[in-house]
Amino acid sequence: MTGSNSARTRFIWLCLSPAVILMAIFMLYPVVSVFQMSLYKWGGYSPDKQFVGFDNFKILAGDMNFIRSFQNTILLIVVVTVFTLAFALVFAAILTRVKFKGIGLFRVIFYIPNILSIVVISAMFSAIYDPTQGLLNSFLRLFHPANWAGIQWLGNEKIVIFSLAITLIWQAIGYYMVMYMSSMASIPEDLYESSALDGAGVLKQFFSITLPLTWSTIRTTLTFFVISTINLSFLLVTAMTGGGPNGSTEVFLSYMYKQANTNSAYGYGMAIGVVVFGFSFILSAVLQAITKRDIYEF
C-alpha cells in the first residue's frame, strides 16, 4: 500500500515538475530579479552595480513626473473601467435579451476592435483626432463658425488623456461584452418569464435578474480591467503620443521604460516596476474584497 502511494506521489511530482520548472524560470525568477534590481543604482549594461537600499523608492516618492504618471494611470483605470463596464453590460444585455435582425453582425462589429493591433487603432484615432481634417473636428465644425480653430484632441494637455481613454474604451467594449454575453446566455429563460408575469419591466429584470446572476463574471473582469488598462495604455501611449505633450499622457509603464532605458536609470525603472506590481496586486485584491457577494444559484 505504501509502495503504490509513494509511486503515486512520484508520478504526481513528475507530472508537475515541467510546469513548476518553467514557471520558476520564466515567472518567479524574473519577478524576484525585478525586486532585487530595484535596490541597485545601475545603468543596465555595466557590470558594476551599486547597492543603494531603498533610495530608489525614496526618490520615487518625491518625483513629480512619476506622481503624474501614477495619476494618469489611475484616471485611465477608473474612467475606462466604469465606461467599458457600463457599455459592455448594456450591449450584452441587448444582444442576448432582445431579438432583432442582424444580431450576429452586431456581435462581430463590436468584437472587431479587439482583434485590431493597437498600432492600427492608434493610427485610426490619430486620423479621427486630427485637428484640421479629423473626423471629430470636421463633425463639430458643422455647429461652429467657419473660422473655428477646432479642438486639439491630442494637443491640449487637459484633454489628451481623455482622448486616450475614449480609444481604450472603444477597443475594450467588444471583449468584455462577449464575456458578459456568455454569462447572460446561461441564465434560464423561465426566470425572465415568471418575472414578466409578476409585472417586471426590462429595467427591473436587468437589475434584479441579469446583473446579480452575472456578478461573478463581472468580478473577474474587474481584475482584467486593472491589468489590461495598465498594459494597453503603455502600448497606446507609445504608439500615439509618446507620453506628450510634455508628459501629460505619461503612464506607469511608459515612464518606467523612459527611466530604465532613455535615462539610463535601470534600477530606478525596476523600482517603478515594483510599485506597479504592488499597486495592481493591491487594487485587484481590494476590488475582489469589496465586490464580494453571496453567489446566487439558478
Binding site: 509513494s6 512520484r10 511530482w13 515538475s17 520548472i21 524560470i25 543604482k41 545603468g43 543596465g44 549594461y45 555595466s46 530608489n56 526618490i59 520615487l60 518625483d63 513626473n65 512619476f66 492608434s122 493610427a123 490619430s126 483626432y129 486630427d130 485637428p131 484640421t132 480653430a149 486639439q152 484632441w153 491630442l154 494637443g155 491640449n156 494637455e157 504608439a239 500615439m240 503620443t241 509618446g242 506628450g244 505633450p245 510634455n246 508628459g247 523612459k258 527611466q259 532605458n261 532613455t262 535615462n263 539610463s264 536609470a265 530606478y268
Partner: protein, 440 residues
C-alpha cells in the same frame, strides 16, 4: 529510500539541464567567436533616412578588401530594440553605428556606463586599401569635441559619420511670391512672422520637440559664442540662469508663440509628418529639420511652384550666425570580441570606396574630398558654410544618470507646453536650471 534518492538525482539533473540550456547563450557565443576570431565581424547599423542598401554595399566592399573576413550585418530602423536584449545577454556587436540623441538613448547609456572602447588610435590607422591615414582625410573640426570625446579627456570613443548642416527649411517660392527676404537676424525673423500672420501663415513649426535640439545649439552659440555654448553643454548653472540663458529662453519663447496652432497636437512619432506638411502647404514659413526631409517628403503633395529652401538659423546679430553640424557616430563596445578588426572596419568608413557607397544613399561622410561629389540639391544645403555661417560641433556633455531627471524632456519636451501657453517661459527656464543643477 533508494528510489527516492534516484528520483531526486534525476530531478536535479533535469533542472540543471534546463538551466544549462537557458544559460548557454553566453558560453556558446564566447566559444564560437574565439574559434572564428578575426573572421566574422558583427556590425550593427541604424537604418536611417539613407536606407539599408548602403550598409550592405559597404560590408561587401570591406569583405572584398579583406579576404577571409565575413561581415555579419544587423540593420534595423529601431536598432536599439534589436541589439539591447542581445547585449544584455552578453552577445555584443563589434561595431555599432548609432548616434547620440535618439529617443532610446542607448548610445548615451553606453557612455554613462563606461562601456565604450577607446578608439583614439583609429585616427592614425591606415585606411585599408589606401595609403593615407584616417587623420589625413577627415575634415578638420569634426574631432576633439564632446560628440566624439564624451568624457572631455582627449580620448576618442566615437568616430564621426554622415554629417549634415542644420538650420531652417522653407519654401523659396512662397518668400519670393510675397517679396519677403530670408531673415538674417532673429528680430527680422520675428518681424517677418507678423507680416506672414496677416496672410494667415504661421511663422514656425517643428516636427517634434526633438528637432529643436540643433536649433537650440545654434542659437546658444549665436547668443554667447562657442565658449558659452560649451558651458551650456556642460550644464553650467550660470549659463542657463544668467542673462545669456534668459536670452535663449526668451528668444525661443518668441518663436514658439508664433508656432502653427496644430503643431503640438501632431508633435509625436505618429503624426510629425503632418507638421512637415505645413511647410509644403504654405501654412508655416520655417521649420528646423535635417537634410533627409527632402527625401522623406518626396511623395507628399505640395503648393504650386514649391521649392525647398535652406538657411542657417538667423543670428542674434547680423553676420554672426552658427549652423550646428549634426553627425552620427560609430563606436565599439568594450565587450566586443574583435576589437582590432572593428577598428579596421571603422578606418575603412573613410575610404573613397565607402564614401562613394554612402553617397549613393545620400549619406555624406566628413572627408575632405566629398564636396566635389555632391549633387546640386545637396550642394544647396552644404553650401551654408560657404555663405558665412560658422561651423558648430558638439553636444551635451556626458552626465551621470540621475533618477527621475530627464534633461531632453525638460529642455525640449516642455517646449510643447510653452507653445500651447500652459507654461510660462520663466517657469520653463527654472525647470531647466533645476535639472542642470542636478546633472552637473
Amino acid at each position: 529510500m533508494k528510489k527516492r534518492l534516484v528520483f531526486a538525482v534525476m530531478a536535479t539533473a533535469a533542472v540543471s539541464l534546463i538551466l544549462a540550456a537557458c544559460g548557454s547563450s553566453k558560453s556558446s557565443s564566447s566559444t564560437s567567436t574565439s574559434s572564428s576570431d578575426s573572421k566574422t565581424l558583427k556590425v550593427a547599423a541604424l537604418e536611417g533616412g539613407y536606407g539599408a542598401d548602403v550598409w550592405k554595399q559597404v560590408a561587401k566592399d570591406f569583405e572584398a578588401a579583406n579576404p577571409g573576413v565575413k561581415v555579419k550585418l544587423t540593420i534595423d530602423k529601431k536598432l536599439e530594440s534589436v541589439i539591447s536584449p542581445q547585449m544584455k545577454a552578453g552577445d555584443y556587436p563589434d561595431v555599432v553605428h548609432l548616434a547620440t540623441g535618439r529617443p532610446d538613448g542607448l548610445t548615451e547609456t553606453m557612455i554613462k556606463g563606461n562601456n565604450m572602447e577607446n578608439i583614439s588610435d583609429v585616427m592614425n590607422m591606415k585606411i585599408p586599401g589606401e595609403s593615407k591615414t584616417v587623420k589625413d582625410v577627415i575634415r578638420p573640426g569634426f574631432d576633439g569635441t564632446l560628440a566624439t570625446e564624451p568624457y572631455g579627456d582627449g580620448k576618442t570613443y566615437m568616430m564621426p559619420m554622415f554629417y549634415a548642416p542644420t538650420g531652417l527649411f522653407y519654401n523659396k517660392a512662397l518668400l519670393k511670391e510675397n517679396g519677403w527676404s530670408v531673415p538674417k537676424t532673429w528680430d527680422e525673423m520675428i518681424a517677418l512672422g507678423q507680416k506672414a500672420k496677416a496672410k494667415g501663415i504661421s511663422l514656425f513649426t517643428y516636427p517634434t520637440t526633438g528637432y529643436m535640439d540643433s536649433l537650440s545649439y545654434s542659437l546658444l552659440a549665436d547668443i554667447g559664442g562657442k565658449d558659452y555654448f560649451n558651458k551650456a553643454m556642460a550644464y553650467d548653472h550660470d549659463a542657463w540662469s544668467g542673462s545669456n540663458g534668459t536670452k535663449y529662453f526668451d528668444s525661443v519663447g518668441q518663436l514658439l508663440k508664433q508656432t502653427a496652432s496644430t503643431t503640438v497636437a501632431n508633435a509625436n512619432n505618429e503624426n510629425y509628418r503632418k507638421n512637415q506638411q505645413l511647410i509644403l502647404d504654405n501654412k508655416a514659413l520655417f521649420m528646423p529639420n535635417g537634410t533627409w526631409v527632402v527625401d522623406e517628403m518626396k511623395d507628399a503633395p505640395r503648393a504650386k511652384g514649391f521649392e525647398w529652401g535652406f538657411t542657417a538659423l538667423p543670428g542674434i546679430k547680423a553676420d554672426d550666425q552658427y549652423a550646428y553640424t549634426y553627425f552620427e557616430q560609430i563606436w565599439v563596445p568594450k565587450a566586443a570580441k574583435n576589437k582590432t578588426l572593428a577598428k579596421k572596419f571603422i578606418a575603412f568608413m573613410y575610404s573613397d570606396k565607402a564614401a562613394k557607397d554612402f553617397l549613393k544613399g545620400g549619406a555624406v561622410q566628413p572627408i575632405k574630398t566629398i564636396d566635389s561629389q555632391l549633387t546640386a540639391q545637396q550642394k544647396t544645403f552644404y553650401d551654408v558654410y560657404n555663405q558665412g555661417a560658422k561651423v558648430l560641433v558638439g553636444g551635451f556633455k556626458n552626465a551621470k544618470a540621475v533618477e527621475g531627471v530627464n534633461w531632453t524632456d525638460t529642455l525640449f519636451g516642455e517646449m510643447t507646453s510653452v507653445t500651447s501657453g500652459s507654461k510660462s517661459v520663466k517657469s520653463w527656464q527654472s525647470d531647466v536650471v533645476k535639472a542642470a543643477d542636478q546633472l552637473r
